[in-house]
């Protein structure tokens, strides 16, 4: 574009806009940075200053404490298990259902599509769903954190739309070469859908790691609590994280409670922060695919 005259007002606006957005950008992650800093703090640091970004002395006591407790370590294990298995279940159910639904010639396709869309509009609600889970004897099992959310209707429709847009010629060619329906899905469709599948793998995985509601509803047994529930117990209900301090090293200095809380928050967020760079590359595109109607 050719250079044009910019009024003083426009320049003022630009400067203002860049500064304001810069502040908003920093504000988005600042609370988390404070928590990370606080998690490395010592008792002295905490009493001296309430909030800081760079601790004068870095102490790993809070993390050492967390990883020496059975309860937190076990809950991390539960969360990891549910995230890995749950995401695999999500992908299997979503892909196998989306693929047939992408075939316009499939008999009953519209009925199924309407059945799915209706669930986005109306649901049985908390109690009837709870009773179904109970009848299936899933209460207090980790399957209760996996199966009831096996498919997100919204994601299903996006994946279906994506499959639908794939060039039909490739499928026809493969079919002429004697490729079976399953072979088609496995060898042609899935490899072509890698970006979309990557997006949903990460979305589903993040959903499982962050899940609190299902565990609150369906899991009473503290030994099966995922990390998010444990987090609430420790930070909000201020319950002691360990229980068995006696078994620990006598030279061990218990870190300040505030640091422990912050360290648990960090641990609860860390996996998200690790996958975020990969996530970020894909999701804008993935979300956009959803706006295609059909």
């Amino acid at each position: 574009m050719a250079k044009r005259y910019r009024s003083a007002g426009e320049i003022t606006f630009d400067v203002f806009n860049y500064v304001v957005l810069g502040i908003i950008g920093i504000a988005a992650i600042l609370p988390f940075l404070f928590v990370v800093a606080g998690s490395f703090a010592t008792e002295a640091e905490i009493t001296k200053r309430a909030v800081f970004l760079i601790p004068t002395t870095i102490s790993l006591d809070a993390y050492r404490f967390i990883f020496s407790t059975d309860t937190i370590v076990r809950s991390i294990g539960v969360s990891l298990y549910v995230t890995v298995i749950g995401t695999a279940v999500n992908l299997f159910f979503t892909v196998t259902m989306a693929y047939p639904m992408a075939k316009r010639y499939l008999m009953g396709r519209n009925l199924i599509l309407n059945l799915v869309i209706f669930t986005m509009l109306f649901g049985g609600g908390m109690i009837p769903t709870y009773l179904v889970i109970r009848e299936l004897h899933l209460l207090d099992t980790l399957n209760a954190l996996i199966l009831p959310g096996a498919i997100s209707a919204f994601n299903l429709i996006i994946v279906k739309n994506f499959f639908q847009e794939l060039p039909a010629e490739m499928e026809e060619a493969a079919r002429i070469d004697g490729c079976t329906e399953l072979g088609l899905l496995w060898r042609i469709v899935l490899p072509l859908s890698k970006p979309v599948l990557a997006t949903f793998t990460l979305f589903y995985a993040v959903g499982h790691w962050n899940n609190f509601f299902s565990a609150l509803l369906y899991i009473n047994d503290p030994s099966k609590w995922p990390l998010q529930v444990m987090l609430r117990q420790i930070v909000m209900l201020s319950q002691s994280a360990a229980g068995d301090l006696s078994s620990m090293d006598p030279n061990f200095v218990q870190p300040p409670e505030q640091s422990i809380k912050m360290a648990v928050i960090v641990v609860g967020t860390l996996p998200i922060m690790c996958v975020y760079p990969f996530l970020q590359k894909h999701f804008a595109k993935g979300v956009m695919l959803g706006s295609v109607k059909g």
Partner: protein, 323 residues
């Protein structure tokens, strides 16, 4: 599509045995696509079991559920649970809290991503724009428990950073977490922090679709940046705004169970308790299944009516709407 045409011809040539032929056709199609149906079955089973069986379960709202009798043998009581609920003073508290929170959300949160997207759209430096976007999307991926935990850690009167600052500055502390006055602002601030950046995605996409020539023409006509925003940019994203507004209307009665449940306590309950937390408290923790199903059903039905109603209004006013 050739298949469709061939089938049509087959149907016509069948003449009198039209019906039988159709049935045969169907059977042949079922057989041809058997693998597709096999693939479809796990997903279908999921929807029936975890979505449609619970829908059937809302009949509990009209029954007097007795655990030892089970779903089928418990007696019918008609609308009694609804009557009890509407006569209960809790009903007005829940309705008020729910609506006020939704209103706050609509007024303070809903425009925020639009404004943020408009500001971002004015940034010409693409590196700067992408950096800001990367930063503001982060909170969306953080769990509500973490958001609530961070709020607790900062706002507590026992060494929380915000209160330490307040104390240093004014000599007083404010118990944000246990004060009814602070509950709503706290909830809205959390929502804005968590979802505002993420909410810009859809508007930025809509903005990216605006024809650049329109701006160039406007500049030639001497339109200021404000005029361009008002006459080109905003009309361009109007339909996106309307669609999101319709979707929001549907969720006006669910204010996000997790967030409110996590931030609620005995001291702020009078402004915090909403339909969802009430259903949880009565149904899951106290076992009043039928009554709380009725409360949940009331909420769902109003939600559906609101979506359909807003959609109808949107169509009436010339927007494309959702359906």
């Amino acid at each position: 599509m050739k298949q469709g045409a061939a089938m049509g011809a087959a149907e016509i040539s069948a003449g009198t045995s039209f019906r039988r032929s159709r049935r045969e056709q169907r059977f042949r199609r079922l057989k041809r696509d058997k693998w597709l149906y096999i693939l479809l079955s796990p997903g279908l089973l999921y929807f029936l079991l975890f979505k449609y069986v619970p829908m059937w379960g809302v009949l509990l709202a009209f029954k007097d559920y007795q655990p030892f009798l089970g779903f089928w043998k418990s007696g019918w009581v008609g609308l009694e649970h609804f009557r009890t609920f509407f006569q209960n003073p809790d009903f007005f508290m829940l309705l008020r809290n729910t609506l006020v929170l939704s209103l706050y959300n609509l007024v303070f949160f809903f425009p925020a991503p639009i404004i943020l997207a408009l500001l971002l759209n004015e940034i010409r430096l693409s590196f700067y724009k992408r950096t800001i976007q990367t930063l503001i999307y982060v909170p969306h991926f953080i769990s509500m428990v973490i958001v609530a935990s961070i709020s607790y850690v900062f706002l507590t009167t026992q060494g929380g950073a915000v209160n330490e600052f307040l104390f240093a500055a004014t000599g007083r502390k404010i118990d944000f977490l246990a004060s009814p006055d602070w509950f709503r602002p706290m909830i809205i601030l959390q929502t804005i922090w968590k979802e505002c950046g993420w909410g810009t995605i859809i508007f930025l996409a809509a903005l990216a679709g605006v024809d650049v020539e329109q701006y160039e023409a406007a500049v030639v006509d001497g339109a200021s940046r404000w005029r361009q925003t008002w006459h080109i940019t905003l009309p361009a994203i109007r339909s996106t705004i309307v669609i999101l507004l319709i979707l929001r209307m549907g969720t006006i009665l669910d204010n996000g169970f997790e967030q409110i449940y996590l931030m609620m306590n005995a001291l702020n309950r009078e402004v915090a308790e909403v339909f969802d937390t009430y259903v949880y408290a009565l149904g899951i923790t106290q076992g009043a299944f039928s009554y709380s199903t009725a409360v949940g059903l009331f909420k769902s039905v109003i939600g559906v009516v609101l979506v359909l109603g807003t959609n109808w209004l949107a169509k009436k006013s010339g927007e494309s709407g959702l359906y």
